[in-house]
C-alpha cells in the first residue's frame, strides 16, 4: 500500500492496520480505501501509515488467533498513548463464524479497549469510511482531552446515495408474528448469532422443559455483532420471519456492543382444547402449506398436540 501524503490544512490522521488472523475479507476492503479514489480515506483527512508508533487510529481485523495475539498486542503497545481502536468486521468483537475454536483467543476486548465497532462481513467501503470518520472525530476530541464528554455524532446517511437497484445484505430483521418456533434459523447459523430463550413468570430459562410456572412465550435474540450477514437463516426460514434488510449504517461505540441486537417475542397462546400453552401456527406457514386453509384446519391450528390426537384418533397415544 502506498502512502498518499497530500497538502491538507490539518495534519492527516494516521491509520494503522493490525490483522489478527482474518479471512482477509476486511483487509482487502481496507486496501480499497487506499487504492480506489471513490473510497480513499484521504477524503476524510486520513492516511495510512506502516509505522505503529505513528498510529492515531488502529484498525483491527480478524478474530485474534492464539498465534497472532502477541504480535497484535505488541503493535498496540507501540502505538502512541492517545489512540482510537476500531474493530473492523464482526470477527474482533465476537469471533464471528470462528468463535469457539481452540485457535481463537478473542474477543479482542479481553486484551484491549475497543472504541468503535464497524459490523459487516466484510463491511462495504462506505461503511468503513463512515466508521473511520467517527474514529477520526473521536481521536481529534481525545487528543484535545475531551474524550469523556465526547459523544459520537449519529451517522448521517449520505443524501445522494443512489437507490440500490438490488439491495445489499445488511442487518437482519425479525418479525415475531410470522415465527413458528421451529428454530431452523439457529440450526443453520454458523456464527451462533441466534439465541432462543423462554420468557416465563419465574425468570427466563433457556429450555422450555426447565421453565416452571406458565411461560409467556419464546424470545429470539439475534446479535448483530456476531451475525455475518450471510442470510442463510432467512433462506431456510419457512415463513419469512427473518429477513435481510439493506441497512449497513451500523458503526457504533464499543460500549454499545452488547445492546446491538434484534429481539422479538413469540407469545404462547392457550390451547383451545385444554388451555396448555402453545405457539400458534403463523398465518404465513398455514398459507405456505395450504393455499386456502379450511375452517377445520383453522381449528386444528389452535390445538396442542395432545388435543389434536384426541381429535383425529379419539385418544391420546403414549
Amino acid at each position: 500500500m502506498q502512502d498518499q501524503v497530500k497538502e491538507t490544512p490539518a495534519e492527516p490522521v494516521r491509520l494503522f492496520r493490525i490483522n489478527t488472523g482474518s479471512c482477509n475479507g476486511c483487509d482487502v476492503e481496507l486496501a480499497v480505501t487506499a487504492a480506489v479514489d471513490e473510497f480513499d480515506v484521504e477524503q476524510l483527512g486520513c492516511r495510512y501509515t506502516e509505522e505503529p508508533h505513528e498510529a492515531d487510529i488502529l484498525l483491527i481485523t480478524g478474530p485474534l488467533t492464539v498465534r497472532a495475539r502477541n504480535e497484535a498486542l505488541r503493535l498496540y503497545a507501540e502505538a502512541p498513548e492517545t489512540k482510537v481502536t476500531v474493530a473492523v468486521g464482526v470477527c474482533p468483537v465476537s469471533g464471528g463464524v470462528f468463535r469457539d475454536s481452540y485457535a481463537v483467543d478473542g474477543p479482542v476486548q479481553r486484551y484491549l479497549p475497543v472504541d468503535l465497532n464497524v459490523p459487516g462481513c466484510p463491511p462495504r467501503p462506505q461503511a468503513l469510511l463512515a466508521g473511520i470518520a467517527q474514529a477520526r472525530d473521536l481521536w481529534r476530541a481525545r487528543s484535545k482531552g475531551v474524550d469523556a464528554v465526547f459523544a459520537a455524532p449519529p451517522l448521517a446517511k449520505p443524501a445522494d446515495e443512489p437507490a440500490q437497484q438490488f439491495p445489499i445484505r445488511g442487518r437482519m430483521s425479525f418479525d415475531p408474528k410470522a415465527c413458528v418456533d421451529c428454530r431452523m434459523c439457529r440450526h443453520v447459523c454458523a456464527a451462533g448469532a441466534i439465541h432462543f430463550d423462554i420468557k416465563g413468570d419465574k425468570g427466563d430459562r433457556h429450555l422450555r422443559s426447565q421453565s416452571p410456572g406458565s411461560p409467556e412465550g419464546v424470545r429470539l435474540t439475534l446479535w448483530h455483532n456476531s451475525c455475518v450477514f450471510c442470510g442463510l437463516c432467512s433462506h431456510y426460514c419457512p415463513t419469512g420471519a427473518l429477513s435481510v434488510t439493506g441497512d449497513w449504517h451500523l458503526a457504533h461505540r464499543g460500549g454499545q456492543t452488547f445492546r446491538f441486537s434484534e429481539q422479538g417475542e413469540v407469545p404462547y397462546t392457550p390451547c383451545s382444547g385444554c388451555g396448555s400453552p402453545l405457539i400458534a401456527v403463523a398465518p404465513e406457514l398455514l398459507h405456505a402449506a395450504f393455499r386456502r386453509p379450511t375452517p377445520e384446519i383453522e381449528h386444528i391450528k389452535t390445538l396442542c398436540p395432545a388435543c389434536r390426537q384426541q381429535l383425529s384418533i379419539g385418544a391420546v397415544r403414549r
Binding site: Q2, V32, V36, D37, A68, V97, F166, H187, V188, V228
Partner: protein, 359 residues
C-alpha cells in the same frame, strides 16, 4: 557471506500476516523457511462442530478472495453423498459466481504486484477496473466479497432478466480494460524489466512441486480442473486453458489476465445458456452416511474437498486441500539466487493465500 533475515507482512507487502526466515549469500537468497500459523483459526476443528448447513457459511470465510469456491465445492461433495443432481440453471449460476470471483481475485493479485514494482498508476488502474466486479458482486449478491450464492442442492440467488442484463453490461465494460491491462503486463518495457526472467520456476521443478493453477500454467503445464474433469456447467462452455511457457513473474500475470478475460466470456456464455427452471433440487435433501471427493478450479488452482457423513447433519470428517498449499513450496525454487529486493514481488506472484493455507 551468509546471513539470515526475517521478513514480516509489512516487508512482504502481504495483506495477511506471514513470516519468512530467509538465508542470504551476500545479497542473494540461498534458503527460505516459511513460518505460517498466524491465521490458523482451527477450521478443521470448527467444521466438525458445525453442521453441514452452518459449514456453508463458515467455509465461505475460509478465505474471502476465493470465497465462492469453498462452499460450492463443499456443496458438490454433499450432493454427491446425497445423490442429488442440481438443476441446470443452478449449474450455470454457480459458474457465474465462480467466474466473477476469479476475475476480481486475479485483478487484485496483478494490482498488488504493479504497486510493488513502483507502477502506481497501473496499480490504481487495476484496482479501478476491479471495482466494476466489486460493484457487480454487491449489486447481485448483496456483498462485495462473500456472495452467499450456494446452498445444498443448488443456489440461493437468481438472475432476473434485469439482473442478467445488468451483468451483461458490466461484462461488456470489462473487456477493453482487461485487454489494455494484458498489453501493459505483456509489452510495457518498464514492467517487463521487473518481471521477465524474474522468479523463474522451471517446468520440471514445477512438476516436482506439483504446483497448480496459474503458477503451473505459467510453466506450460496444461492443467485446469474445469477442462480435465469438468464439473457443473463447464462441459457445456467453450474455453481453452491459458498457457505460458516462461515460468516467470510475467508469465504468471499473463495467465491470470488471459483467464480473467476468458471468465468474462464464460459469464456471457452462462447468461446465454441460462435455462429457466428451479434454483435448488430440494430444500432439505436427506443426507445419508457416505463419503465423497469433489474438486474445482479455484482462482489459485485445484481445490479438493473430502467429506464423510454418518447420516446426521454433522460431518464425520471434512478435509480440503487448497491450491496455495501446493504453491508455497515452489517459492524456494523461484527465490533461489534472487536479490532481496525481489522477494515481495515473487512471493505475491504466486498469489499466496494465507487464510487458506493456515486455515
Amino acid at each position: 557471506m551468509t546471513s539470515v533475515i526475517e521478513l514480516g507482512p509489512h516487508q512482504l507487502a502481504l495483506e495477511e500476516p506471514m513470516y519468512f526466515r530467509v538465508k542470504l549469500e551476500g545479497d542473494r537468497v540461498a534458503g527460505l523457511d516459511v513460518q505460517p500459523g498466524q491465521v490458523h483459526r482451527g477450521m478443521e476443528h470448527l467444521v466438525m462442530r458445525r453442521n453441514l448447513y452452518q459449514n456453508i457459511t463458515l467455509l465461505e470465510r475460509l478465505c474471502s478472495l476465493c470465497s465462492n469456491s469453498h462452499p460450492s465445492t463443499f456443496c458438490s461433495a454433499i450432493e454427491e453423498v446425497a445423490g442429488v443432481a442440481i438443476p441446470e440453471r443452478a449449474e450455470y449460476l454457480r459458474a457465474v459466481a465462480d467466474e466473477i470471483k476469479r476475475i476480481a481475485s486475479h485483478l487484485f493479485c496483478c494490482a498488488v504486484q504493479a504497486n510493488l514494482i513502483g507502477q502506481t498508476a497501473l496499480f490504481r488502474r487495476a484496482m479501478e477496473v476491479r471495482e466494476i466486479m466489486q460493484r457487480s458482486k454487491e449489486a447481485i449478491y448483496g456483498n462485495r466479497m462473500d456472495l452467499a450464492a450456494n446452498c445444498i442442492g443448488g443456489v440461493r440467488y437468481d438472475l432476473t432478466p434485469d439482473a442478467a442484463m445488468y451483468l451483461a453490461r458490466q461484462m461488456e465494460a470489462m473487456k477493453a480494460p482487461l485487454d489494455e491491462l494484458y498489453l501493459q503486463f505483456q509489452n510495457n518495457p518498464a514492467i517487463m524489466a521487473r518481471t521477465a526472467g524474474v522468479g523463474v520456476l522451471p517446468r520440471l521443478e514445477a512438476i516436482e512441486c506439483a504446483v497448480v493453477g496459474p503458477v503451473a500454467r505459467a510453466c506450460g503445464i496444461d492443467y485446469d480442473v474445469r477442462k480435465k474433469s469438468p464439473y457443473g456447467a463447464y462441459d457445456r462452455l467453450e474455453f481453452s486453458t491459458s498457457l505460458q511457457q516462461a515460468g516467470d513473474v510475467r508469465a504468471r500475470n499473463l495467465v491470470r489476465l488471459a483467464e480473467a478475460r476468458q471468465s468474462v466470456s464464460l459469464i456471457e456464455q452462462c447468461l446465454a445458456g441460462l435455462v429457466p427452471g428451479p434454483l435448488c433440487a430440494d430444500l432439505l435433501p436427506e443426507i445419508p452416511a457416505g463419503e465423497a471427493v469433489a474438486k474445482s478450479e479455484a482462482p489459485r488452482g485445484e481445490l479438493v474437498y473430502y467429506l464423510r457423513t454418518d447420516g446426521t447433519d454433522f460431518p464425520l470428517r471434512l478435509k480440503w486441500r487448497v491450491p496455495s498449499y501446493m504453491n508455497w513450496d515452489a517459492l524456494k525454487v523461484m527465490l533461489h539466487g534472487e536479490p532481496v529486493a525481489n522477494i515481495p514481488l515473487i512471493v505475491n506472484s504466486i498469489d499466496p493465500c494465507i487464510a487458506c493455507t493456515d486455515r
